[in-house]
């Protein structure tokens, strides 16, 4: 049916994480470089942390996508909460050993130490805040074998809080914090996303003052921005269908920005 510009623009802001949608944001690119560097260094474990919606999963996905052609790299987007299952999965993926029965930590350590691999495999664990403390401690011990390298992400905001935790105190962690975007980065992000989908007209509707209003509402959080803009284009296509005379296609309306913010809960009314 209708596949107008607003409908297409709307889908640009679906909250999905695909490496092909990755946008090289200035600040993030620097992190990306240091992350790829540290991934290639032996021993170091990498801890990627930040508020929800700051792009951690996107980051890991991009890293996985970029390195998978040349490296042994495995991404686990959802945590494997059962310890036994966790070791079995790693044994299968890293060492290509399938286990039917139980595989505990001591057993897994043994086979890992005995493995003769010329290349250290990289394990990317997203949402690691869901792993238990004891499993996290074991992940650290596994890293110490230098037979596997972990990059984990955490939904944590307070660095102090993290460092207080025992298993993050060891020096083998390298930490990178991802933050919300600045308003100029946000403008770049919005426009780049739309341009990638060939929504040129929609991209030109986001002038600085509009982006500033959006920034005020989302504080530069990518996920909140996605939600807001998804709803915004949804509202636009509704108006386009029912009251096309009411909308100005040169400029995003503040009213519709605020309506979207109310809908997604960024403004309470």
């Amino acid at each position: 049916m209708k596949s107008d510009i607003f409908d297409i623009s709307k889908d640009v802001f679906l909250d999905t994480v695909n490496a092909k949608d990755y946008i090289e944001l200035d600040r993030v690119s620097i992190f990306y470089q240091s992350l790829t560097d540290s991934v290639l260094k032996p021993l170091k474990m990498v801890l990627l942390y930040g508020k929800p919606g700051t792009g951690k999963s996107m980051f890991l996905t991009k890293l996985h996508n970029d390195l998978s052609a040349t490296k042994k790299i495995h991404l686990y987007k959802t945590p494997i909460l059962d310890e036994n299952e966790f070791y079995k999965t790693l044994a299968q993926d890293l060492l290509s050993i399938a286990y039917d029965g139980e595989l505990n930590f001591t057993q897994f350590m043994k086979i890992l130490n005995n493995s003769l691999s010329d290349e250290i495999p990289i394990v990317l664990l997203d949402e690691a805040q869901l792993y238990s403390n004891s499993l996290m401690e074991k992940i650290r011990l596994l890293s110490d074998t230098r037979k596997v390298k972990f990059v984990i992400t955490l939904h944590k905001t307070d660095k102090e809080d993290l460092i207080a935790k025992e298993h993050f105190q060891t020096r083998i962690w390298e930490t990178i914090e991802l933050k919300n975007s600045s308003s100029s980065e946000l403008k770049f992000y919005i426009q780049k996303k739309l341009l990638k989908a060939n929504c040129f007209d929609a991209a030109s509707m986001f002038q600085d003052d509009k982006v500033n209003l959006i920034y005020k509402l989302t504080k530069g959080n990518y996920r909140d921005t996605n939600k807001l803009l998804y709803t915004l284009f949804q509202i636009y296509s509704w108006y386009e269908e029912y009251t096309p005379g009411k909308i100005n296609k040169n400029k995003i309306s503040n009213k519709i920005i605020e309506m979207s913010a109310i809908h997604v809960g960024l403004l309470n009314a």
């Binding site: 509202i235 108006y239 029912y242 605020e258 309506m259 109310i262 809908h263 403004l267 009314a269």
Partner: protein
């Protein structure tokens, strides 16, 4: 699916909510300012009424009191300020009659037609409104002292001026320093009260006839009081006497109509 109509309503509520603080502040400001204005008006009209009543009751007493106070002034050098203040409030006519007295004795030629004016200076913070009330006074009790052709009209200008004129007037009453009366004349001229400017300039001239500034204020006030001829006459005499170039310039400006 989105319910746009409902969302529009919620947005409208949100807008109203976000404007309410400003709305409340604006309303509060409006309310307080109108309340203040209202109180101010009320206060003024009340006081005016009171002073008119006082005048009517004390038609003759005013003069007597004046004499008493005039006598008192030189003897009581260190004056009790609150007492003086009370006296001033009760006897509104005191200072100008004092000056009329001087005028009559020292310069009878300037008092063919006498205007006796007095001001009550209110100590109020906001100089907004000026009210003038005319009170006719039966001239008879003053007749032996002042040759009055017609009724002497008394103007009570109620004006909210700054404290300092009031204070300077008080000080002037205690020491008759012409610098002070000149200051008062200038202040009155500045605020457009030309009657009082004229009066105090006149007083200053009588205390010291060599103050150029005072003669200038005096004649400017005369012009403002629609007595251009009188102003020209006075200035001519003063220029002849003093050779003041400022006075000369003012004189030509008055004659040419440049100064109105």
């Amino acid at each position: 699916m989105l319910n746009i109509n409902e969302l529009e309503k919620r947005w409208f509520v949100y807008k109203i909510k976000s404007y309410t603080p400003y709305l409340i502040i604006t309303i509060l400001i409006l309310l307080t300012s109108s309340l203040l204005l209202f109180l101010f008006y009320n206060d003024n009209s009340l006081k005016n009424k009171v002073s008119i009543e006082k005048k009517e009751v004390k038609k003759f007493e005013t003069h007597e009191t004046y004499v008493k106070i005039a006598d008192k002034v030189p003897t009581t050098a260190p004056v009790d300020i609150p007492k003086i203040k009370n006296d001033i409030q009760k006897v509104v006519l005191q200072p100008s009659l004092n000056f009329i007295d001087n005028v009559v004795i020292n310069k009878p030629e300037t008092s063919k037609k006498k205007i006796i004016k007095e001001k009550i200076i209110e100590v109020k913070p906001e100089p907004i409104i000026e009210k003038i009330i005319e009170v006719k006074i039966n001239p008879e009790p003053i007749i032996e002292k002042i040759p009055v052709e017609e009724n002497v009209s008394l103007q009570i200008n109620k004006q909210n001026t700054s404290n300092d004129i009031n204070l300077v007037i008080k000080r002037f009453k205690t020491n008759n320093n012409p610098a002070l009366s000149l200051f008062i004349a200038k202040k009155y001229y500045e605020i457009g009260n030309f009657n009082q400017a004229y009066n105090y300039a006149l007083i200053t001239n009588q205390l010291n006839k060599d103050i150029e500034e005072s003669w200038i204020i005096f004649s400017k006030s005369l012009v403002k009081l629609n007595k251009k001829d009188k102003a020209v006459e006075v200035l001519k005499q003063y220029v002849e006497y003093s050779n003041s170039s400022r006075a000369e310039i003012l004189l030509s400006n008055i004659i040419s109509g440049k100064f109105k």
